[in-house]
């Protein structure tokens, strides 16, 4: 008889007023008892709607059944069949709009906590599991991956399992992409990313950091070096600004810069050299998950007042409900229906405030969301000394501008078929480089699909 509780077993968390002063993980994870209890909520539907909602088709009911039976290592093996980064997905996937969004338990009550269970299983394995990774027998074919983010790492892992000799070229000094420069430690500990990357290396994947493809070697040169296919997962790294007055003042950051300084460069830790502003009051402009991350980092860096400034209402705010909830608990102030007009500076060129205008919602626009309209004469100044622009990113042009035959759309996103094939023979792409800024799991799904396509492509040529 399944556990018919309408609610998920609640996730243990650090107290909001404690955690907003440290970078330790917010959610501390299920115990074995909690996991088993939650696992018994699964009804094991025949048609598995949850699996259909997962971009990498994790065998969800099967792994949950093993959790319920206390076979945690077995559950891990089940997940690993299709997902190479379970500890990451369990933490950062938007389950509410994917697997859990399709769960029938969600029709009346809360869906099964699939994400929490996945995380539990991955963490249990890291703590107790016996890793016996063997390097698969090589098939003698070489594939190059550009970018060690979620799509590239997934593609690399899947190809390595098939026996390909995979080299991943990464521009930064460490592998992980957005998992290490963007998502903060308190949502995704970097030691977990390092462990997942370590597993790939044990499988024979070679990771070459400090290699900016397009500058040091071009895609064509990779082919000359003997790679038979190239996967481009270079992400959407180029930050957008609003182009309003004052954006060049000292104390205005892109969310990318602010987060990179803190996460990748460890500006939050004693003994690291990378500097960052000591802020008293911070305005984060934007309402996505990245904005939530930036705001919550700013709070942890010691800012007294941290505002999310978003031009629409809570209903349209794109961040995950869980992130918004966590941010609110931690004392982030939501200034909704407000839009920045200009940033004000003092005589030294430092930010002294941000002028905003109040907005109201009009008719729906092309995106289907109600268009925000400025309320005339409602301008006011938000007293802040730091502004973080978090209004989106676009794909980096470094590769497409140095590779002939690789076409992009007007937003700079690489044009690719559903299987990842680009307009250039032998070149595949996936993740944000194709879709524009999206989620970790969609990028992983794209990396997975491309790995299959690359395998077919190389087989067809040999």
């Amino acid at each position: 008889m399944p556990n018919m509780s309408l609610k998920k077993v609640s996730m243990p968390e650090q107290e909001p007023n404690v955690r907003n002063k440290n970078f330790l993980e917010v959610a501390t994870g299920y115990t074995e008892e909690m996991a088993v209890e939650e696992a018994t909520r699964c009804l094991h539907c025949k048609n598995k709607p949850c699996v259909a909602g997962c971009p990498v088709n994790v065998h969800i009911p099967e792994f949950i059944a093993k959790v319920a039976a206390r076979d945690f290592e077995g559950a891990y093996e089940e997940i690993s069949l299709t997902n190479s980064l379970p500890a990451v997905c369990g933490r950062v996937c938007p389950q509410e709009s994917q697997c859990e969004g399709k769960c029938v338990r969600g029709i009346k009550g809360e869906p099964v906590g699939i994400g929490r269970l996945e995380r539990f299983v991955a963490d249990w394995h890291m703590a107790n599991g016996t890793e016996h990774i063997e390097k698969p027998k090589t098939n003698g074919h070489k594939v190059a991956i550009v970018g060690a983010g979620p799509s590239g790492l997934t593609c690399a892992g899947d190809l390595a399992k098939l026996g390909y000799e995979v080299t991943v070229f990464e521009a930064f000094h460490a592998a992980g992409g957005v998992l290490i420069y963007g998502i903060p430690e308190f949502r995704l500990p970097k030691s977990i990313v390092a462990q997942e990357v370590g597993k790939l290396e044990k499988m024979g994947v070679e990771i070459k950091p400090n290699m900016v493809i397009g500058k040091v070697d071009s895609v064509d040169e990779l082919f000359e070096q003997g790679y038979e296919a190239v996967f481009i997962g270079s992400g959407a790294g180029l930050p957008s600004f609003m182009n309003i007055e004052g954006e060049d003042l000292l104390g205005v950051y892109s969310a990318n810069e602010y987060l990179t300084r803190i996460n990748l460069m460890k500006a939050y830790r004693e003994g690291y050299d990378t500097p960052i502003a000591k802020s008293h009051s911070v305005a984060v402009v934007g309402g996505g998950n990245v904005a939530m991350d930036a705001a919550r980092c700013a709070k942890r860096m010691g800012a007294e007042n941290v505002y999310i400034v978003y031009r629409r209402s809570m209903e349209e705010l794109p961040a995950r409900a869980e992130e918004v909830h966590h941010a609110q608990e931690e004392g982030i102030i939501f200034k909704l229906l407000n839009n920045p007009v200009k940033i004000l500076g003092d005589e030294k060129g430092r930010v002294s405030g941000m002028e905003c205008v109040e907005m109201k919602l009009g008719e729906p626009d092309a995106s289907g969301r109600r268009r925000p309209i400025a309320v005339e004469g409602s301008n006011f100044v938000l007293p802040v000394d730091t502004v973080i622009m978090s209004i989106g990113t676009s794909p980096n042009p470094l590769i497409r501008s140095t590779t002939t035959g690789l076409e992009a759309n007007k937003h700079g996103c690489l044009i690719a078929k559903d299987n990842g094939a680009t307009t250039k023979d032998g070149v595949f792409a996936g993740g944000d480089a194709v879709t524009g800024a999206a989620t970790v799991i969609l990028a992983m799904g794209a990396g997975k699909t491309a790995a299959e396509a690359i395998d077919e492509y190389i087989k067809s040529k040999n």
Partner: protein
């Protein structure tokens, strides 16, 4: 890890290092830069490439010991290694094949970067006048090297202790007044120097190229920290530059932006660990 093959002190505060990085040496061109990180706790610091040797597989950097990271780098010796070294980044300087005569101006450690520019022009058969400015005699660097690649080398010092007394702009004005015609002026040095060189050439409409050195993190267009206003538009120095039209750059804004972390740097600088002599504890 990237090995330091050669280390040479050019003066008390300027050091030259040849770093083993064959893949970068193979591609590097004048005007491009690298980013280094000394160790796990280090910052990512951009430096313009001073020279490269494709056969030896080395890239030469010349740096002034000004902040924590350059100080740390300077504690390393030949045979030691740097953790990270990435490049070549940025757009290479475009050499106008139709140019007949170019004036290359360097200021202080900026001469280390002005020199390869002069060399590239000289090798392309273009006549080069070089004006090299220094504070005083004791910090003059690369005099022989610069002399070898220029038709005229004018050394200027602020205090007159070597060469001629005066600023690089005094000499430039003098050369222009004497009827010398330049197709282009390339200026590399302190922002204030580049600003005044651009102001000097503007009335004559001489194309003036400057090489900027803003604060940056990744060097690939990702952080936007290096944004500069050029012709009223925001550009990222790391991918759109580092070379820009000197008549279009907002130097005052760049000067302000580059001071952002200076207060912290100043307080950090006061402390030199007596146990390690500035080296990081292992």
């Amino acid at each position: 890890m990237y090995k330091i093959v050669t280390k040479r002190c050019l003066n008390d505060s300027v050091t030259l290092m040849e770093i083993e990085a064959p893949h970068i040496a193979r591609k590097a061109k004048a005007g491009q830069f690298i980013i280094f990180r000394v160790d796990e706790k280090g910052e990512r610091i951009p430096l313009t490439i001073a020279d490269y040797d494709r056969e030896k597989g080395t890239v030469t950097i010349i740096f002034q010991i000004v902040g924590a990271s350059t100080k740390l780098l300077n504690t390393l010796e030949e045979g030691d290694s740097i953790l990270d070294f990435v490049g070549p980044l940025g757009v290479a300087t475009h050499i106008d094949p139709n140019a007949k005569r170019v004036c290359v101006i360097g200021g202080g450690v900026g001469n280390a970067i002005a020199y390869p520019q002069a060399k590239a022009l000289h090798n392309a058969g273009i006549q080069v006048d070089m004006i090299a400015g220094f504070r005083s005699k004791d910090i003059v660097i690369l005099e022989d090297e610069m002399g070898a690649v220029s038709d005229h080398l004018y050394i200027m010092t602020d205090d007159g202790s070597y060469g001629e007394k005066g600023l690089v702009t005094n000499k430039l004005q003098q050369l222009i007044d004497a009827g010398n015609k330049y197709d282009e002026v390339i200026a590399i040095g302190p922002i204030i120097m580049m600003k005044f060189v651009a102001a000097t050439t503007k009335p004559y409409g001489i194309k003036t190229l400057v090489s900027l050195n803003p604060i940056m993190v990744d060097g690939t267009g990702m952080c936007g920290g290096c944004r500069v206003k050029v012709g009223g538009q925001t550009k990222f120095a790391c991918v759109d530059g580092p070379d820009f039209d000197g008549h279009e750059v907002d130097f005052d804004e760049l000067m302000k932006r580059n001071t952002f972390y200076r207060e912290r740097e100043t307080t950090d600088k006061e402390h030199v660990c007596r146990l390690t002599g500035g080296k990081r504890n292992a």
